[in-house]
Amino acid sequence: MFVSDEDLMMKCGKGDIGAFELLVRRYQNPLINYIHRSIDDYHRSEDLSQETFLRVFKSANRYEPTASFRSWLYTIATNLCRNEIRNRSRRNTCSLEGLVEEGEDVHHTEIMRDTRYLPDILLEKKEQRQMIRKALAQLPENQRVALTLVTYQDLRYEEVAEILGCSVGAVKALIHRARQKMKKLLIKAGIGEERVNEKI
C-alpha cells in the first residue's frame, strides 16, 4: 500500500521514526542529485542532504500539509544551497569552474554502467556532462533552480512557484528563459544535435 509523503510526515510528527526513514529512502537520491547540480561538490552535497533531512525531522511536529512535502523539502535544500554558494563566494577560495573539474567524480554510476566497455564514448559522455554542468552553473540563480527542479526533479510549475515564492506565470517565464539560455550555451560549447535527435 502506498502511503503519501504528507501522511508519512504527519506520522513522523507524532514521533514515528520508521515513517521518517521511509521518507529518507524515497528522497535521498533525488535530493542529493538536486543539491549536487546546484553546488557541484559531491561531499558537500551529502552533508547538505543530511542537513536537509535533519531539518525536516526537527520541524516535523510543526508540519501542516498545506503545501506538498516535495516543495517543502526542496525549499529547505534550495536555501541551504544558496547559503553554501554565498559562503563559497565570500571565501572566494575556489572558482565554480575549478569546482566543475574537481566535482567530476566516480559517482556517475548511471552513465558508467552502460558505457564502460566503450572508453571513447565514456570520455565523450564525461565531457558532455562537464559541459552541461558548466552551462547550468552559468544560468542566473532563479533560472537554474527552476530549470533543475522541473527537468531533474519532475516538479510541477506550481511547486516551483511555492519554492521560489513567485507566481506560476513567473516560473513559466523563468523556465523558458533558462531553456533559451541553455540552448545558446550548449551551441557555444559545441554540443551535438545528432545524439539528441536519436533519443527523441
Binding site: Q28, K172, R195
Partner: protein
C-alpha cells in the same frame, strides 16, 4: 559530432502565433505539459500549420532531452544510517528539552493559578465595596467587631494562665494560714492547780 543549426529563425512570432500563444513562454509550458487541455489542443493544431513554432518546440525538446543526460550521482551506502543516527540523537535531545519545558510550564501554571484565585477574590471584594453590598457591610462589621473584641478582651489562653496563677496563690494563702494559725493557749500549771 553535429552541432545545433546556427541559422535560427528570428525570435519574432507572427501575429497569428502571438494571438494564439499569448507569450513564447507557453511553448516551454507546452512541452512540460503544464497547460490546460484546451490550450494544448489548440497549440497542437497550430504546430501542424506553423513551421516556425514547430521548429521552436523541437529545439526546446532537444535542449530538455540533452539536459536529462547530465548524469546522476548515487548516495553513499552509509548515508541513510548517518541520517537516522543524527535523527535519533535529535529526537533524544528534543525529548529531554520537552520534559524540562513541561516542568517549567507546570510550575508557571500553578503559580499563575494562585495569582488568578487571589485576584478573583480581590476583585469580588473591590466590587462589593464599590456597590456597598450587604455582604460587604456584614463582612466589614464582623471584622471591626472582631478587632475591637480582640483588643479589649485578650485571648482566652492568657485568662486560663491567670486563673491557674490565682489558684496557686490561694493555696499559698491556705498554707500560710495553717502555719500562722495560733495554737490554743496552753493551760498554765498554776491555773490547773488552782482549778483542782
Amino acid at each position: 559530432m553535429k552541432k545545433y543549426r546556427q541559422t535560427e529563425s528570428p525570435d519574432i512570432y507572427s501575429s497569428e502565433c502571438e494571438a494564439l500563444l499569448v507569450s513564447p513562454d507557453e511553448l516551454s509550458a507546452y512541452i512540460d505539459k503544464e497547460l490546460p487541455v484546451w490550450k494544448r489542443h489548440l497549440i497542437r493544431r497550430h504546430l501542424k500549420k506553423c513551421e516556425i513554432c514547430a521548429d521552436r518546440v523541437q529545439r526546446l525538446q532537444q535542449t530538455d532531452s540533452f539536459l536529462r543526460h547530465a548524469g546522476a550521482v548515487d548516495v553513499s551506502d552509509d548515508f541513510l544510517s548517518g541520517v537516522m543516527a543524527r535523527a535519533s540523537e535529535a529526537a533524544l535531545h528534543q525529548r529531554q528539552h520537552d520534559s524540562l519545558r513541561s516542568h517549567v510550564a507546570r510550575f508557571v501554571e500553578t503559580s499563575l493559578g494562585w495569582t488568578r484565585h487571589l485576584s478573583t477574590l480581590m476583585g469580588s471584594l473591590r466590587y462589593n465595596i464599590r456597590t456597598r453590598s450587604p455582604v460587604y457591610i456584614f463582612i466589614l462589621t464582623f471584622a471591626v467587631f472582631t478587632m475591637v473584641g480582640v483588643t479589649l478582651y485578650p485571648p482566652s489562653g492568657d485568662k486560663l494562665l491567670e486563673e491557674s496563677h490565682g489558684l496557686e496563690l490561694n493555696a499559698e494563702k491556705l498554707i500560710s494560714f495553717e502555719v500562722i494559725q495560733p495554737e490554743p493557749p496552753k493551760r498554765l500549771l498554776t491555773t490547773y492547780l488552782q482549778g483542782e
